[in-house]
């Protein structure tokens, strides 16, 4: 349910069956993959632009105003305020969030997440010694080791979703990196897309 992120095939992620394998690492074995009973009365709300911005800023340690700018100028959250569930009662006379998310809402989320994750990756790769999220891979040019990728994967879950990743989730993030070997900067590309994958999960966008 909430705890399983949706993996976009268009971004060349691999979907793995739930495994109980431990990936090891300095922090010990991750939780075994488990099935969670479905909620009997699920009530889910979209975070909306302000909460999403606050969470990304907190998780990626980037000031809110520096997360994403359209055309390098306009703040993305202000630009896409209404489609993300915001309001504008003064000029547009939109007093409450739209009852249904418009078709452009996922596009706006994608743009914001890619931008924010790309910004974190750029900062960490520019100064690997001060890296906040991608320390294990920031100094690499070629695709980092699975061990390094697993460490970053765990950190992404802990920072973005505030919980440990389970074994299957770590494996999924690690594995798609193998498809980036032809990219000019596979390490940085993997870092940005791994972050994007977790940041755009249902679990992160709703509560």
């Amino acid at each position: 349910m909430f705890r399983k992120h949706h993996i976009e095939s268009s971004l060349r992620f691999c979907v793995l069956a739930l495994l109980a394998a431990a990936c090891g690492g300095d922090d010990g074995a991750p939780p075994a993959s488990t099935e969670q009973p479905a909620s009997a009365a699920a009530r889910v709300k979209l975070k909306g632009p302000q909460r999403l911005a606050n969470d990304l800023a907190q998780a990626l340690a980037i000031p809110r105003q520096e997360l994403c700018r359209e055309l390098g100028q306009a703040d993305c959250f202000e630009t896409h305020d209404i489609v993300l569930g915001g309001v504008d009662p003064y000029r547009l006379r939109i007093d409450e969030p739209l009852p249904e998310a418009p078709v452009t809402a996922p596009m706006a989320v994608d743009r914001i997440a890619l931008s924010a994750c790309g910004e974190r990756a750029a900062r960490d790769f520019a100064a690997p010694g001060d890296a906040v999220v991608f320390a294990e891979v920031a100094g690499a040019g070629a695709l980092p080791s699975t061990r390094a990728r697993a460490a970053v994967a765990r950190r992404l879950y802990e920072r973005l979703l505030a919980r440990p990743a389970d074994a299957a989730e770590i494996d999924a993030l690690v594995a798609f990196g193998d498809q980036l070997t032809d990219h000019a900067e596979p390490a940085r590309q993997w870092a940005q897309l791994a972050c994007y994958a977790v940041a755009t999960t249902t679990e992160n966008l709703f509560y």
Binding site: P37, A41, D95, E96, R159
Partner: protein, 497 residues
């Protein structure tokens, strides 16, 4: 529990019924008395808890009946000549309702009686009781970070409280701290208190601020004061400040409708709200023409008499029905445009302004709306018309005199006294007192927060909890919104994943 005859009590409903049955034999009035009779017949029905069913229970657009209304009609006073007068209709309706209890008018698999009890529409197949309740849960006893969907989950609730009230998710470290605390639920309530003081909740354009949008209906183009629009007429910042002030700390939310003060806001790391009371002359000297509130102190009724509310709703209208309807809708949850809250008054509408509202099709609503409006008629909107009138957005006892020439000779005869929720009132101050102390006000306030925080209206399984919530809000919590919120986060609807 309640003061001044809430309509939910048998005594109040009897009074309301008596007012309606006192005169007039039009079919339109007979239809509008039906919701009261329904609640007399089924006092425990969900649709009668702190409110009354709308006319859409039996009708599409009166007098056209839906499938349920057709069944009731077929069982109504068989053999008696039509049309029925009000007395005969009201006397026969209970038996007709009971005669069709076992039927299923909309074919949704739920009997009419069960739908009435559940608060769904027996004439609408898309409206039927949900399954509700906690299903049989598959308990997950393994050590896991997954939520416990079979019971209240502290981490789940903590995360929601942080997001709803503080505007961000808790970090992993904060969650681990919660899990390690001696009393996680106490810690969650402490977190709520902390967040309630923050700007995300109570600051400008915060959660509370936006809760008022559809009640205030701002427009930047005609805003005065700070950041004025191109045609500055009135400043709605005063309305937002007054609204937020009465939702925070332990303030009495009823003062939304009864306050004779206004509120100043100081933006900063922690926004503060400070009430002040100034005469119009004092306020003009303090804030100038752009910000002055013009209604005299003794004639103020909270959100109902702000300059913005009067200017934007009443405008140039002698009988400002839009103003009354907006107040009825915003603070009592009764939307006359949807035929909700119809409690027709005998010998109404008089149609003082000659708008033909006394025609049968119009009188269905205007028999309630016009007497609801009369107390608003002495408050200017934007002055105009013959003679110019008094100051804008002020109280003017002689306001209607100038409309005799522009609207109808009888317009000045419209009384200041009116009727709200079946109760006669002498003026707008009395109107506001009845409204603020009503079940409808308490229920609507609670419903605003339930929908905001739970994300949807109460489901069937939530009804008892929701009723307890608004009743406690009006009772032991003394209309304190924040105390009600502490109750709300403990409900199953909020805290069970």
């Amino acid at each position: 529990m309640k003061s001044s005859l809430p309509l939910a009590t048998p005594a109040a409903r009897a009074m309301a019924t008596a007012l309606v049955l006192a005169a007039s034999a039009t079919t339109a009035h007979a239809m509008a008395v039906a919701p009261t009779v329904v609640c007399d017949t089924y006092p425990d029905a969900d649709t009668c808890r702190g409110t009354q069913p709308a006319c859409t229970l039996c009708h599409t657009a009166p007098p056209v009946r839906n499938d349920f209304g057709l069944q009731v009609e077929a069982a109504l006073a068989p053999g008696m000549p039509r049309p029925l007068d009000i007395d005969a209709f009201a006397a026969a309706l209970p038996a007709a309702l009971m005669a069709v209890e076992a039927l299923d008018a909309d074919g949704d698999g739920t009997a009419n009686f069960d739908e009435l009890q559940a608060g769904t529409l027996p004439g609408d197949a898309a409206s039927k009781p949900g399954e509700g309740g906690l299903a049989v849960c598959e308990a997950n006893t393994a050590r896991t970070w997954a939520y416990n969907v079979c019971d209240r989950d502290a981490v789940y609730t903590y995360r929601k409280v942080m997001l709803d009230f503080c505007g961000r998710s808790p970090t992993l470290s904060e969650i681990e701290g919660l899990s390690a605390s001696a009393d996680a639920w106490r810690a969650i309530h402490d977190t709520l208190d902390l967040c309630l003081g923050g700007n995300f909740w109570r600051g400008r354009d915060g959660v509370l601020w936006n809760l008022a949008n559809r009640k205030i209906r701002p427009s930047a183009a005609i805003k005065s004061g700070e950041d004025p629009g191109s045609i500055p007429l009135a400043d709605y910042d005063d309305d937002y400040n007054l609204f937020v002030y009465n939702q925070i700390d332990d303030h009495d939310a009823r003062e939304l409708l009864t306050a004779q003060y206004f509120v100043a806001r100081d933006d900063g790391d922690f926004t503060t709200y400070t009430p002040f009371t100034r005469t119009p002359a004092e306020d003009l000297a303090e804030r100038g023409i752009g910000g002055v509130q013009i209604v005299d102190i003794e004639r103020r009724a909270g959100m109902l008499t702000t300059r913005w509310f009067l200017m934007s709703n009443t405008m140039f209208t002698p009988i400002p029905r839009t103003t009354a309807a907006q107040a009825y809708r915003s603070y009592l949850g009764l939307d006359i445009a949807r035929m909700e809250g119809l409690m027709p008054v005998a010998n109404e509408p008089v149609d003082y302004d000659a708008k033909s509202v006394d025609q049968p099709a119009c009188a269905v609503c205007h028999a309630t709306l016009d007497p609801l409006t009369y107390p608003f008629t002495r408050y200017e909107g934007i002055t105009g018309g013959a003679g110019g009138g008094g100051l804008p957005a002020s109280y003017n006892a002689d306001r209607l005199d100038r409309f005799g020439a522009t609207d109808a000779p009888t317009t000045p005869d419209a009384p200041e006294a009116g009727v709200i929720l079946g109760q006669p009132v002498a003026d707008l101050l009395a109107w506001a007192q009845v409204a603020a102390n009503s079940n409808e006000f308490a229920r609507t306030t609670a419903l605003d927060y339930w929908q905001l925080l739970v994300g949807e209206p109460p489901r069937q399984a939530d009804r008892d909890t929701f009723d307890g919530l608004w009743q406690a809000f009006a009772g032991e919590h003394g209309y304190s919104v924040e105390r009600m919120l502490h109750d709300l986060i403990d409900t199953e609807a909020y805290s069970v994943p």
